[in-house]
C-alpha cells in the first residue's frame, strides 16, 4: 500500500467507482495516505491559527508580569517569553491568522486572474494568446519577493499591497498551467459542437472548458498556497507585512532571532508551524494530482 514510489500514479478501477467526476477525484485522492496525512496537518495548523486567539492565556501584545525578556519556559509562560517579555505561546496562537488570510487571499486573487488569462489565451490563440502569455512571462521573470519589495518600497508597507503583489506574481504561474491544460481541451470536438450551435464564448469557456481542467487547477492552487505561505511569512519577516506590535509568525521570527541561543521557542514555534503548513498543503496537492492522473489513465487505458 505505502510502497508507492514518488510520482507513481495510483491505479483506479472506474467500474466500481461512482460516476460523478468530483466525487471520484476526491474519493480517489482520499484513498491515499499522503492526502489524509496532509489534510490532518493542514487542519491542525489552520485550527491553531483560527481558534488560537481564543485560547491564548495572555494578551499577545502585553508583557507577562514578573517575567524578563527571553525568559525560559516556566509554569507561568509554557514556552517562555520573547524579546519584550511577552508570552510566546499567546503570540504564537494569535499570530497565525494573518499568515493564513494573507496567503489565502493572494492565492485566490492569483488563481482567479491566472485562470481568466489562461483560458482567454488558450481559446483565442493567435495574437491575443501571444500578447497575454508574453506579458505573463515578463511578470514571471520577476522574483516574487523582489517584486513585492519594489512595490512596498515605492508605496509603503501596506497589507493590501502585499496581497496584491503576491497575487500578481501568482497569476502568471496559474495562467501557464491553465493555458497548458486548456489548449488541449479547446481542440476537442465537444467545444466545436458548442460553437456550431452558437453558444457564447464565455459560456463555452466556463461550462465546457473549465470543468475539464479542474484537476490541474486544484493541484496548482494547493502548490501556489504552499509557496505563498512561505512568501507571505518571508515578507512579514522582512518587515513588509504586519507591523509591530502585532502578533504574526513571520514577524516573531524576525523579532526574536537575536535571542535564538538563549530562548529558541519564539523562533522555533512559528518556523515549525509554517513548515508543517507548507508540507500539509503540498501533500494534499500531491494526493489529488496522483488521483487525477490515475483517473485519466483508467479512462484512456481501455481497449
Amino acid at each position: 500500500m505505502s510502497d508507492l514510489a514518488l510520482g507513481e500514479p495510483i491505479e483506479v478501477d472506474l467500474e466500481t467507482k461512482p460516476g460523478r467526476p468530483w466525487r471520484l477525484l476526491f474519493s480517489t485522492a482520499w484513498g491515499q495516505h499522503r492526502t489524509k496525512i496532509g489534510l490532518g496537518i493542514t487542519l491542525l495548523i489552520v485550527g491553531v491559527a483560527l481558534i488560537g486567539p481564543l485560547l491564548a492565556p495572555y494578551s499577545p501584545d502585553q508583557g507577562v508580569e514578573g517575567q524578563l525578556p527571553f525568559a525560559s519556559p516556566s509554569s507561568d509562560a509554557w514556552f517562555g517569553t520573547d524579546d519584550l517579555g511577552r508570552d510566546v505561546l499567546s503570540r504564537f496562537l494569535s499570530g497565525g491568522v494573518s499568515v493564513l488570510i494573507l496567503a489565502g487571499l493572494s492565492t485566490a486573487i492569483g488563481i482567479v486572474l491566472g485562470v481568466a488569462v489562461g483560458l482567454t489565451a488558450a481559446y483565442s490563440r493567435g495574437k491575443l494568446d501571444d500578447l497575454l502569455m508574453r506579458g505573463m512571462d515578463v511578470l514571471l521573470s520577476l522574483p516574487q519577493i523582489v517584486f513585492a519589495l519594489v512595490l512596498a518600497a515605492t508605496v509603503g508597507p501596506e497589507l493590501w499591497l502585499l496581497v496584491l503583489a503576491v497575487g500578481l506574481t501568482t497569476m502568471p504561474r496559474a495562467a501557464r498551467v491553465t493555458r497548458g491544460a486548456a489548449v488541449e481541451v479547446v481542440e476537442k470536438d465537444f467545444v466545436r459542437a458548442a460553437e456550431a450551435i452558437g453558444i457564447p464564448r464565455r459560456r463555452i469557456l466556463f461550462s465546457e472548458v473549465l470543468p475539464n481542467i479542474t484537476s490541474p487547477l486544484i493541484v496548482e492552487t494547493s502548490l501556489r498556497m504552499t509557496f505563498n505561505v512561505a512568501v507571505v511569512a518571508g515578507l512579514s519577516f522582512l518587515g513588509f507585512g504586519l507591523q509591530p506590535p502585532a502578533a504574526d509568525w513571520g514577524l516573531m521570527i524576525n523579532e526574536n532571532r537575536n535571542g535564538l541561543a538563549i530562548q529558541p521557542w519564539p523562533v522555533l514555534l512559528p518556523v515549525i508551524a509554517i513548515a508543517l503548513l507548507t508540507i500539509g498543503t503540498s501533500l494534499i496537492g500531491d494526493g489529488i494530482s496522483r488521483a487525477a492522473i490515475g483517473i485519466e489513465r483508467g479512462r484512456g487505458g481501455r481497449e
Binding site: 491505479e11 460523478r20 470536438d189 465537444f190 458548442a194 456550431a196 450551435i197 452558437g198 475539464n212
Partner: protein
C-alpha cells in the same frame, strides 16, 4: 516426432489479472498456424484478441500474466524461457506489427537507423555491408524505395501507409518464423489498406512465415486469412477455414458478425448485435454469448459449452451448432426498400467552393446539391477534403471562397455569424464520440444543451423532450445521469446523434460517424440513421470512406478525390457502373466478403 511441428502452436493458454480475484482475460485458447499461413483472429473490442496476440510474443500487458498454457514456435515453448532470452527472440523469431505505426517507429531516429538497429540488435549479418544489403532487400519487399534520401527521412516525413510499410519491414527484417499483426490497417484508407494487405500476404507466402492477423474487420480478414479464429469474451468461439466460417458459420456469434458486415452490393439488410461483450469479472455463468444469443436455451446458461469439432479443421463452442449451420445455409434477409427521391428545391447548394487549411489548398471548385429528405453520401479517401467540405457547410471551417446556400439563402461563413435558425437546422455529428461529448457532463446535460440554447426550455418539459429523443436513437432514460465514460462507443455516438436531433434539424451532417466504432456497432448506428431519415424526413450528408456502407442508407453519392468531386449520381448507378477511374479503383480496393469468398471458390 514424425511430422514437422507447426510454425506456431498455442495450447490451452490462460491469461489472467495479476491482482485481485485472478479473473481470466482469456482462457482455453488453443490454435495452430502452419508456415506461410495467415490466421485471422477476430472479435469485438474487449474480446481478448489483442491479449492473445501479445501472448504469442510471450508478452502481457501491465497487470496481467500468463497463468497456464504453451506458446510453441517451431516446437519450442517460448513461455518457459527466461525473460531475457524471450526478449531476444522477439523481433528475430516472432515479431509484431502494431495498430499504430507511429508507435512502432521512434520519431527521433531516421528510417535507415531504425532498420539498422533492428538488425544489429539481433546480431543479423556479419558486417555493415551485409546488413545494408538486407535493408535494401526488405524495403524492396514492402515496395518502398531504399535510396539514401529515403533512408535519411524521419517517420513524420512519411505518409501513414509508408510508415506502416516501414513497420512491416522492421517486423520482417530478421526473417522471423511467426508474425503478429494487430489491426495494422485500421488507420489507413482503403487503397493503402489494400496495398498493405497484399504485401503482407505475399511476404508470408514467399518466406513461409506464420501470421496471426488480429482485427475486428471481418471483410479484411476474409480477404487475407486462410483460417479464422473468432473470439468472444476471452474464449475461442469458433475456429475454421475462412470460406466455411463465413458461409456456414456454426456459432451464432460468428453468424451475427458476418451479417453485420456491410456489402458493396447492398443485397442484405445489415444486422446489428444487441448488447455488449462482457468484460472480465462480469461474465455470465454458462455460455458467455447466451444473453445476446437468439439460439440460447436453458442449458446454455448452466454450463460453459465445450469446444466441439464439426468438420475437419473446424471447431465450435456452441451446443446448438447443428441448428445454426442449417440456418446459415439459408439466405440472409433482403434489404428493405429505400425512400424514393423527391425532386424539390435544394436544401443545400454548394457553388464553386475553394477551401484552404493555412496555405494548403484543400478544396477545388466543389459543386454539390443536397435535396431535402435525401441522404447524400460523400465518399473519398482520407485527405480528399470531404471532412473540410462538411465543416464548411456546418460553419466550422471558415477559410473558403465561393457560396454555400441553405434553402436558397446564402449562408455566412462561420456558425457564429449565421442566424439562430440556420444554426439550429443544420446539425453536425462528429467522427469520434470519444471526443465530442464533454466528459464532465452527464448525457442528460449534454443532450439538453441545444434545447436550452435554442428553445430556452427547462424543467420537466425539457426532460420529457430529452427522454423522447434518446428513445429515438434507442437509448433508455437510464443514461440521463451517466457520464460519457460510463457508456460504450456505440452508446456515446447515439447520444451525440440525440444531441443533434433535439434541435429539430433539417440537415444532419454525419462526419465518418461509424469509423471509430466496431463493425457490429456500426450496423446499429446505420440502422438508427436510416430510421431517422425515413421517419423524421430530414436531409443527411453522410461522409464516409467506406463505400460498402452507403447503399443501405443513401440515394445519391458524390465521390471526392484530392479536393475535387470526381463523380456524382444515384448510388446504384455509381456503384454498379462507375464512370470515373478513381471510383473504379476505390470500389475494387474496398474489401468485400462476397468478392473474397467468390475468389476462394
Amino acid at each position: 516426432m514424425s511430422t514437422a511441428p507447426h510454425a506456431l502452436e498455442v495450447v490451452d493458454l490462460r491469461v489472467e489479472l495479476e491482482y485481485g480475484e485472478h479473473e481470466d482475460i482469456v482462457d482455453g485458447i488453443s490454435f495452430r498456424v502452419a508456415a506461410g499461413e495467415v490466421l485471422g483472429l477476430v472479435g469485438e473490442s474487449g474480446s481478448g484478441k489483442t491479449t492473445v496476440g501479445l501472448a504469442v510474443l510471450g508478452h502481457t500487458r501491465r497487470g496481467a500474466r500468463v497463468a497456464r498454457g504453451e506458446v510453441r514456435v517451431e516446437g519450442r515453448d517460448i513461455l518457459t524461457l527466461p525473460p531475457l532470452e524471450r526478449q531476444r527472440l522477439r523481433g528475430r523469431l516472432v515479431s509484431y506489427v502494431p495498430q499504430d505505426p507511429a508507435s512502432a517507429l521512434s520519431p527521433a531516429m531516421r528510417i535507415g537507423g531504425q532498420l539498422e538497429e533492428t538488425l544489429s540488435e539481433h546480431g543479423f549479418g556479419a558486417s555493415d555491408a551485409e546488413r545494408r544489403a538486407r535493408i535494401v532487400e526488405v524495403l524492396a519487399e514492402v515496395l518502398l524505395p531504399s535510396d539514401e534520401t529515403f533512408l535519411r527521412r524521419y517517420p513524420h516525413q512519411l505518409s501513414g501507409g509508408q510508415q506502416q510499410r516501414v513497420a512491416l519491414a522492421m517486423a520482417f527484417a530478421n526473417r522471423p518464423r511467426v508474425i503478429v499483426l494487430d489491426e495494422p490497417t485500421t488507420g489507413l484508407d482503403v487503397t493503402t489498406q489494400a496495398h498493405v494487405l497484399e504485401t503482407v500476404r505475399a511476404l508470408c507466402a514467399t518466406h513461409g512465415v506464420a501470421a496471426v492477423y488480429v482485427s475486428h474487420d471481418l471483410a479484411v480478414v476474409a480477404t487475407l486469412a486462410m483460417r479464422v479464429a473468432v473470439m468472444y469474451g476471452g474464449r475461442l468461439s469458433e475456429v475454421g477455414p475462412t470460406g466455411t466460417l463465413f458461409r456456414l458459420a456454426a456459432h451464432p456469434y460468428t453468424r451475427r458478425l458476418v451479417e453485420a458486415i456491410p456489402e458493396l452490393s447492398g443485397k442484405h439488410a445489415l444486422a446489428s448485435i444487441p448488447g455488449t461483450a462482457p468484460r472480465p469479472g462480469h461474465r455470465p455463468a454458462g455460455c458467455f454469448f447466451a444473453p445476446r444469443c437468439a439460439y440460447a436455451l436453458e442449458a446454455c446458461t448452466v454450463a460453459p459449452p465445450p469446444l466441439e469439432s464439426v468438420a475437419a479443421d473446424h471447431v465450435v463452442r456452441c451446443i446448438r451448432h447443428a441448428d445454426v449451420m442449417k440456418d446459415a445455409a439459408a439466405a440472409r434477409p433482403a434489404a428493405t426498400a429505400r425512400a424514393e427521391i423527391a425532386d424539390e428545391d435544394a436544401l443545400i447548394t454548394v457553388r464553386e467552393v475553394d477551401a484552404w487549411y493555412g496555405v494548403r489548398h484543400v478544396l477545388h471548385g466543389v459543386e454539390l446539391v443536397i435535396r431535402p429528405r435525401e441522404c447524400l453520401a460523400l465518399v473519398g479517401e482520407s485527405g480528399s477534403g470531404k471532412t473540410t467540405l462538411a465543416r464548411c457547410i456546418a460553419g466550422l471551417h471558415t477559410a473558403y471562397s465561393g457560396a454555400i446556400s441553405y434553402r436558397g439563402q446564402p449562408l455566412e461563413r462561420g456558425a457564429r455569424a449565421r442566424d439562430a435558425n440556420a444554426r439550429r437546422e443544420i446539425q453536425y455529428v462528429f467522427q469520434s464520440p470519444y471526443n465530442s461529448l464533454n466528459p464532465r457532463k452527464t448525457i442528460g446535460q449534454i443532450v439538453n444543451q441545444p434545447l436550452r440554447h435554442f428553445f430556452s426550455l427547462g424543467g420537466s418539459e425539457a426532460r420529457r423532450r430529452v427522454v423522447e429523443v434518446l428513445d429515438t436513437v434507442q437509448l433508455s432514460s437510464t443514461v440521463l445521469d451517466r457520464y460519457p465514460h460510463q457508456l460504450s462507443g456505440g452508446e456515446r455516438q447515439r447520444a451525440a446523434i440525440a444531441r443533434a436531433l433535439i434541435a429539430n434539424p433539417q440537415l444532419l451532417v454525419c462526419d465518418e460517424v461509424t469509423s471509430a466504432l466496431d463493425v457490429s456497432v456500426q450496423a446499429a448506428i446505420i440502422d438508427v440513421l436510416a430510421d431517422l431519415q425515413r421517419e423524421l424526413d430530414i436531409g443527411l450528408l453522410f461522409v464516409t470512406h467506406n463505400l460498402a456502407l452507403i447503399r443501405t442508407l443513401s440515394q445519391e453519392v458524390a465521390v471526392m478525390s484530392e479536393g475535387r468531386i470526381v463523380e456524382r449520381g444515384l448510388v446504384d448507378h455509381v456503384l454498379d457502373r462507375p464512370q470515373a477511374e478513381y471510383t473504379r479503383k476505390l470500389l475494387s480496393d474496398t474489401p468485400s466478403l462476397e468478392a473474397a469468398l467468390a475468389a476462394s471458390g
